[in-house]
Subunit: 221 residues, 2 copies
Amino acid sequence: MAGRRNLETAVAETASVTEPGKAPLGRRERNKQEKLERIVGAARRLFHDRGFAETTTQQIAEEADIGTGTLFLYARSKEDLLVMVFRDEMIETARAAFSKPSKAALLDQLVDVFTSMLDYHARDAELARILLKEVMFPDAASKQADITELLEVIHSGLADMVTQACAAGRCDLKANPRRVAENLFANYYMDLLGWLGGRTSRAQFLSHLRQHLAITIGSPA
Amino acid sequence: MAGRRNLETAVAETASVTEPGKAPLGRRERNKQEKLERIVGAARRLFHDRGFAETTTQQIAEEADIGTGTLFLYARSKEDLLVMVFRDEMIETARAAFSKPSKAALLDQLVDVFTSMLDYHARDAELARILLKEVMFPDAASKQADITELLEVIHSGLADMVTQACAAGRCDLKANPRRVAENLFANYYMDLLGWLGGRTSRAQFLSHLRQHLAITIGSPA
DNA sequence: CTTCATTTATGACTATAGTCAGTTTATCTA
DNA sequence: TAGATAAACTGACTATAGTCATAAATGAAG
């Protein structure tokens, strides 16, 4: 009973679309499902059009054609809504970034991967900053699931990349690949933060990122 | 005129105490000075006693014996107040952490330094998380000065440490010491985040940090 | 169809960060 | 000292995220 969650786990975390062999999905379930989609859709549109800070929860509720209270049965907070809108996209982006096999030098592969992710973030700097902030600083236990899955995709993708490069003789790292992956991502995250926060230019960001990654994998920049 | 700042630069950023050879410091200045001290003191007490979220700006104003509006002439936001309360302490902590000369292995020196900083943060996990969040994600230009100074102390301290260790033959790093320092701090930051966010235990945190730092400086863990 | 229990929906309401038009206080000048 | 100007102060006010007691909808059982 600890940490009450709304509407079960918010429609079982955007439940799958009519899983075969599963429950017949009565009117109730369909309603919830459809309502959640309306809400996330409305939030996506408004966040995109006006920005996060300029969108009120009232507006989202209105756009989704529900009461203001209902909104908070489907999302714990406005930030939660933001994560709902972008989580899957982010995971997909990360997966895609790791899916292209390559025989390039490890450093170049890494820069490629991070640049792909970057292109996604760069589409909207304000949202990206808020996402980086909210995703990495969950204050409710429920959000940890989100960040955990995303981090898992990124960390394991990077670890695999490192392991394979070493197996192919293209690098020589003794350390635990997982720790190397975490180290690499930490550097990407902080560099991105500096850029989005206006402390560095895009050119500086890219240059520094490459140097940071090179240091981690012990390769000449 | 862009980004209006209140009361000049909030009493010239907690101005020095009667700089010799400077202005005679009339009643007005003394009032401002004293009021700022009352405000920061009140905020410090309340944040410490009740926590950040549980303290209202009204309470701070009341404790400092000023009107609610006045508070926001001295601080732009509640978060700003938090930074005011802890910024100098954090910088001092960082300076102190770098001030003890040592002939130990670089990795051990680094772990020592970060452990010292950690002890400061660990005194209050909730405040630490909010600080990590607010300090690294300034949304107003004015706050960038804060983070810039703190980051400068940390980055240059680490860079010096690395440079000296290499000069003494205790390590062999070809890369720009500044970039190495940034890399090291990025790892500390993310590991600390994981710990404070409850994703890792303290033991894991320390173990992972050591491994991450070792990877960066290319030394066996 | 008619209870009845359970789930879901609602909007008036609360709490609080931050604003602003109007007031007070300090300083300067004559 | 009086008057004028500028700086600093104020609390009633606004805006909005999130709550909660109540109402409506749904589905199960008889």
